[in-house]
C-alpha cells in the first residue's frame, strides 16, 4: 500500500491551559438555563419589543418580478397619504446609505434598495416610513412603478450560457458564472488510475433556510446633535464586523454608530449579519428625522432575507479499491448563489474543511462553479455548506457499498480514521484535532440494535412492508478561522484576507463579591449566559447564583469578539473566560498575599475565597479582597501592581489555525476542532403515497467535553429536527420565471411535532480536544449535518425492491412517488 498523502502543514503546539478532567464541579453538569425566567414570564426583550418615543414604522415594497429594469418609479401619490412620513426609492436611499457588505471576489455591489434593476422576486424597490406599519403598507398601492421585464435565469446550470439582458451583473462580464476554479489536493489522478472501482453520481441539494420564528429587525435613531446612530438589532456580528461595515455603508466613523443587542428569537446562521435590515432602519431614521422600526414580515424574510442555504448540483466520483478502501473523491459542484454573493464562496471553504468525512481518503479534486441566478441570495445556515458535503460523501459511500456488495456499516468501518492517527491532516490541509470514531459507531450500533433492525426489516419485507435503515458517520467541524472566507479566491486577488477571529469577555469582581461577566455577542437562541456562567463558576470557584452575565453594545464592547457562528461560541468564550480569570486570579493572589502575610505561591482559589494551600483555616473571601481593592488603596504598597479594582479583559485567539499555502496546494488549518456523530434511523415508506414514517432514531455524538448535557442535547434534538426538515420537507421552490412558490409557512413546510420521530435517543462519547480549554468542541450544527444522509439512505434502503436510488433533498412524498413512478414506467 502506498504512503498516505499528507499536505505540508505544520500543526501548532497546543495552547490549552485547563486540561479536561473528571473532578469538575460545574462543567459537565446539566444546569437549568439562567436565560429562561425572563423569557418564560414574557418579559424578555426581543427587538420588536423595543419602542422609542416618537417612533415611526417602515415597510418595504418588493419586486414582483425576478429580473426587470425599473423604468420609472413615482412616489407622489404615496407621499400624499395621511400618516406617511417618507417614501424612499433606491436612488434616494443611496444618498444616505452606500453599498452593503460584499465579500465575493470580484465583489458584487449590493444595495439595500435596488437602483435601476431588480434581480429577484422580493428585492426592495422602495421603502415607506409611516405612523404605523398599517399605513406604510397602505402606501404600497400608491407607488407607481413601471417595469421592463428581462430574461430570467432560474437554473444554475444554464447560467454559463446566459448573455446580454439575461446577465445579472454586466459590469463583471458577459456571463452569470462569477467564478469557475479547480483545485487538486493530493495525487487525485494517480489515485483514480490505481482504483479498482469508480462510482459516479449526480446529486442535487435544493435550497432551504433557517426561518427562525423571529424574523430579522431593527430599531434605529439618528441624533442630529451628536450625529450618532443608535441601532437596536438582532444580528450577532455587531462587535467584530458589523459595526465597521455598518458605519462604512452609512458613510460615518465607527464612533458614530452604536449597535445594541436584544434577545434573538433564533438564528441558525440567518442573523449572522442582517446588514440590509439594520441599514434600512438606520438610513430611514436619518432621512425621516424619526426613530424607525423595521421588522421583516415572513414574506420579507423568505423572499429577501439574504439567508437561503446551499443550492448545489454535484457530479461526484469516488475511487476505491476492491476491498472498499477509499482512495480519492473528485467532483464538480455548481452553486446557485442567487442574485448576489454577500459572503463570497465561504460555504465551499467550509465544505472542504471536512470534505472527506471521517474517512481516510488520500486526495480530493474539486471544481467549484459559482453561478448567479434570479433568486434571493444565500447566507449562513446551520452547517454552512458542510452539511451538503456530508450528504455527498455519505451517499457516495452507500453507492460504493452496493457496488462492492459490502454492508453500509462495514464499508464505513474499513475507512474510518483510527483513534491513534490524530491530529490528522486531511488532503485539503485542515486538521482533525481528535476523535474516536470507532467508539461512536459502536455505541450507535449497540443503542440502535442494528442487527435487530435488519431482522425486523427482513420480516416486514416478507409481509410487503417497506422498512429501511440508514446509518451514517459524519463530521461536525467547529471553531472556524476566517481563512475559509477567502482561501478559495484567486491567490493573486484574495480580497480581505483576515486571519483573526478572537473572542473576548470582560470580568469584574464587585466589592460585594458578586461577579460581572460581560459578553460581546448576544443571546441568539442558544445558551451563552448559562455556558459562560458554568465555565466562570468552575474556573473562578464561585457559585453560579453570584454571577451576572451581560451583553455589551458596540460602544462598550470589544472589537475582538466575533460572536456565535460555526459552532465556535462555547469553545471560544470559554477560552476568553479562562484568560480573564488568569489575570484576575493573579491580582486576587497579590492582594490576598499582602492581607494574609504570605507568598503568592502559597495561595489557591477555593469557593470564592483565596486560601493558603494545605491550610483550610487561613483564607480571605473575594468580597473582602475586592472591598479592599476598591476602597482601601492606602492599606497596600504604592506599586502599580496594586492598582485599584479587580477587573480584566480576557481575549482568546483561535487555538489552532494556520494560513493556506501560497499556491493553495492546501488551505491551511481553519476548522480543526472536529466533532463527530453517527445517526442511525429506521423508517417505513409507503410506496403508494411516498410517505415516510419514523420507527426509531439514534444519534450518538462526540462534541468533546460537554459543558451542559441538558442544553447540548437540546442542540442535538433541534439540529436533527432541522435536518429532518431538510431531508423531507423544506425547499424554496422557484419556478422557471423566478417566482418563489413557497413563500409562506403554508407552502414552506418546517417540521411540526407530528413530523418528528417519537423519540430521538441520544448517546454521548466524549473525546476531549487537546487544543481547547477543558477539551470542549462545538456541537450546535451537528444534528442537521447528519440527519439528511441518514434519512435518504433509509428511504433508498426501504425501496430496494424497486431498484431506485435517491440523490436529492428534500424527498417530499411527491418526489419519492415520482422516482418510483419513473422506475415503474421505465424498467431497465
Amino acid at each position: 500500500m502506498s504512503e498516505r498523502y499528507v499536505p505540508d502543514v505544520t500543526v501548532p503546539a497546543s495552547v490549552q491551559k485547563e486540561p479536561p478532567r473528571s473532578s469538575l464541579r460545574w462543567i459537565g453538569k446539566s444546569m437549568k438555563r439562567v436565560e429562561d425566567l425572563t423569557i418564560l414570564t414574557g418579559k424578555g426583550i426581543y427587538v420588536d419589543d423595543i419602542a422609542l418615543p416618537n417612533m415611526a414604522h417602515a415597510a418595504v415594497l418588493r419586486s414582483p418580478y425576478a429580473h426587470a429594469r425599473i423604468k420609472s418609479i413615482d412616489t407622489t401619490r404615496a407621499k400624499a397619504l395621511p400618516g406617511v412620513i417618507a417614501v424612499v426609492t433606491g436612488a434616494e436611499f443611496a444618498e444616505t446609505v452606500g453599498p452593503t457588505l460584499a465579500l465575493s471576489c470580484p465583489p458584487i455591489e449590493q444595495r439595500v434598495i435596488a437602483i435601476g434593476k431588480v434581480r429577484h422576486v422580493g428585492e426592495a424597490i422602495a421603502a415607506v416610513v409611516a405612523e404605523s406599519r398599517y399605513i406604510a403598507e397602505d402606501a404600497f398601492d400608491l407607488i407607481d412603478v413601471e417595469f421592463q421585464e428581462l430574461p430570467v435565469v432560474a437554473d444554475p446550470e444554464q447560467a454559463a450560457s446566459a448573455r446580454g439582458d439575461a446577465v445579472l451583473h454586466p459590469s463583471l462580464g458577459d456571463t452569470n458564472v462569477i467564478s469557475d476554479r479547480t483545485y487538486a489536493f493530493g495525487p487525485v489522478d494517480e489515485d483514480f488510475s490505481r482504483a479498482d472501482v469508480i462510482v459516479k453520481r449526480r446529486l442535487r441539494w435544493h435550497r432551504s433556510s433557517a426561518q427562525p420564528i423571529e424574523t430579522a429587525g431593527a430599531v434605529a435613531d439618528y441624533n442630529v446633535g451628536s450625529e450618532r446612530f443608535t441601532i437596536y438589532c438582532n444580528t450577532s456580528m455587531y462587535n467584530q464586523i458589523s459595526r465597521s461595515t455598518c458605519a462604512g455603508s452609512l458613510g460615518v466613523a465607527v464612533t458614530q454608530v452604536n449597535m445594541i443587542p436584544s434577545l434573538v428569537g433564533g438564528s441558525f446562521g440567518s442573523k449572522w449579519s442582517t446588514h440590509k435590515v439594520f441599514l434600512l432602519a438606520a438610513g430611514l431614521a436619518r432621512i425621516s428625522g424619526r426613530p424607525v422600526k423595521f421588522m421583516e414580515d415572513r414574506l420579507d424574510q423568505m423572499s429577501n432575507g439574504d439567508n437561503h442555504g446551499a443550492d448545489r448540483v454535484y457530479e461526484a466520483e469516488l475511487a476505491l479499491k476492491r476491498d472498499g478502501t477509499m482512495l480519492s473523491l473528485r467532483f464538480t459542484v455548481t452553486e446557485d448563489w442567487g442574485a448576489y454573493m454577500q459572503y463570497g464562496i465561504t460555504t465551499h471553504g467550509n465544505s472542504l474543511a471536512q470534505v472527506v468525512g471521517p474517512y481516510r481518503i488520500n486526495s480530493v479534486g474539486a471544481r467549484i462553479i459559482s453561478a448567479v441566478t434570479n433568486k434571493n441570495q444565500q447566507g449562513a445556515l446551520r452547517g454552512m455548506g458542510s452539511e451538503v458535503s456530508n450528504f455527498v460523501i455519505e451517499r457516495m459511500t452507500d453507492v460504493a457499498a452496493r457496488e462492492l456488495d459490502l454492508d453500509p456499516v462495514e464499508i464505513r468501518r474499513r475507512n474510518l480514521i483510527r483513534a491513534d492517527e490524530f491530529p490528522y491532516v486531511i488532503p485539503t490541509g485542515n486538521v482533525y484535532d481528535s476523535g474516536n470514531y470507532q467508539a461512536v459507531l459502536q455505541m450507535a450500533l449497540d443503542m440502535f440494535d442494528y442487527e435487530g433492525w435488519r431482522a425486523k426489516q427482513k420480516a416486514a419485507r416478507a409481509e410487503g412492508r417497506h422498512i429501511g435503515i440508514g446509518l451514517v458517520s459524519c463530521q461536525e467541524r467547529s471553531v472556524f478561522s476566517p481563512t475559509e472566507m477567502w482561501s478559495l479566491n484567486d491567490p493573486t486577488q484574495p480580497g480581505f484576507h483576515m486571519t483573526s477571529l478572537p473572542e473576548t469577555v470582560r470580568l469584574r469582581i464587585d466589592p460585594s463579591g458578586k461577579v460581572f461577566l460581560q459578553l460581546n455577542a448576544p443571546f441568539w437562541g442558544n445558551s451563552p449566559a448559562t455556558v459562560a456562567t458554568q465555565v466562570l463558576a468552575e474556573s473562578l470557584t464561585v457559585e453560579p447564583s453570584d454571577i451576572l452575565v451581560t451583553f455589551a453594545d458596540s460602544d462598550n464592547g470589544s472589537q475582538t469578539s466575533a460572536g456565535p457562528a460555526g459552532s465556535r461560541y462555547t469553545t471560544m468564550v470559554s477560552g476568553a473566560i479562562v484568560n480573564a480569570v488568569a489575570i484576575v486570579r493573579e491580582k486576587l493572589f497579590l492582594f490576598a498575599a499582602h492581607a494574609l502575610g504570605c507568598a503568592v505561591e502559597e495561595l489557591e482559589l477555593r469557593d470564592a475565597k483565596v486560601g493558603v494551600k494545605g491550610n483550610p483555616d487561613i483564607e480571605i473571601s473575594f468580597a473582602q479582597i475586592s472591598t479592599a481593592a476598591h476602597y482601601f488603596r492606602l492599606d497596600f504598597p504604592p506599586g502599580p501592581e496594586y492598582m485599584s479594582g479587580l477587573e480584566a479583559v480576557g481575549v482568546y485567539d483561535h487555538p489552532l489555525s494556520a494560513k493556506p499555502a501560497d499556491d493553495r496546494s492546501h488551505l491551511g488549518i481553519y476548522y480543526p476542532i472536529m466533532g463527530h456523530m453517527v445517526h442511525a434511523v429506521a423508517i417505513e415508506v409507503d410506496p403508494n403515497t411516498g410517505k415516510v414514517s419514523f420507527l426509531d432514531y439514534v444519534a450518538v455524538h462526540d462534541s468533546g467535553t460537554v459543558v451542559n448535557p441538558l442544553t447540548m442535547d437540546g442542540q442535538i434534538y433541534g439540529g436533527t429536527a432541522h435536518g429532518i426538515g431538510t431531508a423531507l420537507l423544506e425547499r424554496f421552490h422557484y419556478d422557471e420565471n423566478g417566482q418563489l412558490l413557497t413563500a409562506s409557512f403554508a407552502d414552506y413546510h418546517m417540521p411540526m411535532a407530528q413530523d418528528m420521530p417519537r423519540e430521538i435517543r441520544i448517546g454521548h462519547v466524549e473525546t476531549p480536544s487537546p487544543y481547547t480549554e477543558y477539551g470542549m468542541k462545538g456541537g450546535g450544527e451537528s444534528g442537521r449535518m447528519a440527519a439528511p444522509p441518514a434519512i435518504v439512505q433509509a428511504i433508498e434502503d426501504a425501496l430496494q425492491p424497486f431498484g431506485v436510488e435517491f440523490f436529492e433533498v428534500p424527498l417530499t412524498p411527491n418526489r419519492v412517488r415520482k422516482v418510483l413512478r419513473d422506475a415503474q414506467n421505465n424498467p431497465d
Binding site: 437549568k32 414570564t41 414574557g42 399605513i135 445558551s527 433541534g718
Partner: protein, 165 residues
C-alpha cells in the same frame, strides 16, 4: 383606508382596559403596542406558526388573525398572566427544568396552548400532547423537550390537585 375607529373594553390577565383603536388593529398589535404586553410574539402573521397564541375566554386563538375589535368584552389571557419568577405556573417550571425552550420566541404561544390543553385533558398521553402542540412551530427544540415538559407539568398539576382535594 383604515379610518374607522372603535371603542373596546377587554379584560387582559384580570385587568380591565378601555381603548379607542383603528378598527383594523390586529389583536397581536393591540396587545403588544397598545397595552405593551410584548410577551405575545408575532412569528408569521399568517396563522401557521402559533407564536401569537393567546386565550380568549379560555380558548386558544391566533392573535395575529384576530381583530382587536372582535374581542370586545372578552377575557384574554397572555403569557404575562401565567406566573412570575417568584410564583411560576407548573408549565413554566417544567419548561425550565426540562429545557423546553431555547430562543424562547415560540414559547409563549406554546405555553398558552398547553395551558388550554391541560385544562381539558389533565392526564394526557405523550401522543395527545404531541397532537396538542402540533399547531405550533418551534425551530429550536425538535419538540421532544417541550412534550416532556408538558407531561411533567401535567403530573405536577395533578399532584397539586390531589393535595388541594
Amino acid at each position: 383606508m383604515g379610518s374607522t375607529s372603535v371603542d373596546i373594553t377587554v379584560t387582559v390577565n384580570g385587568k380591565v382596559y378601555r381603548k379607542h383603536i383603528p378598527a383594523r388593529t390586529l389583536l397581536s398589535d393591540f396587545l403588544r403596542q397598545e397595552l405593551y404586553l410584548t410577551g405575545t410574539h408575532v412569528g408569521c402573521e399568517h396563522g401557521v406558526c402559533g407564536a401569537c397564541t393567546v386565550l380568549l375566554d379560555g380558548k386558544s386563538a391566533r392573535s395575529c388573525l384576530t381583530f382587536a375589535a372582535q374581542v370586545d368584552g372578552i377575557e384574554i389571557e397572555t403569557i404575562e398572566g401565567l406566573g412570575t419568577a417568584k410564583n411560576m405556573h407548573p408549565l413554566q417550571k417544567a419548561f425550565w427544568e426540562k429545557h423546553g425552550m431555547q430562543c424562547g420566541f415560540c414559547t409563549p404561544g406554546i405555553l398558552m396552548t398547553a395551558k388550554e390543553f391541560l385544562a381539558k385533558n389533565p392526564s394526557p398521553t405523550e401522543e395527545e400532547v404531541r397532537e396538542a402542540i402540533s399547531g405550533n412551530l418551534c425551530r429550536c427544540t425538535g419538540y421532544q423537550a417541550i412534550i416532556d415538559a408538558v407531561l411533567e407539568a401535567a403530573q405536577k398539576m395533578r399532584n397539586l390537585q390531589e393535595v388541594q382535594v
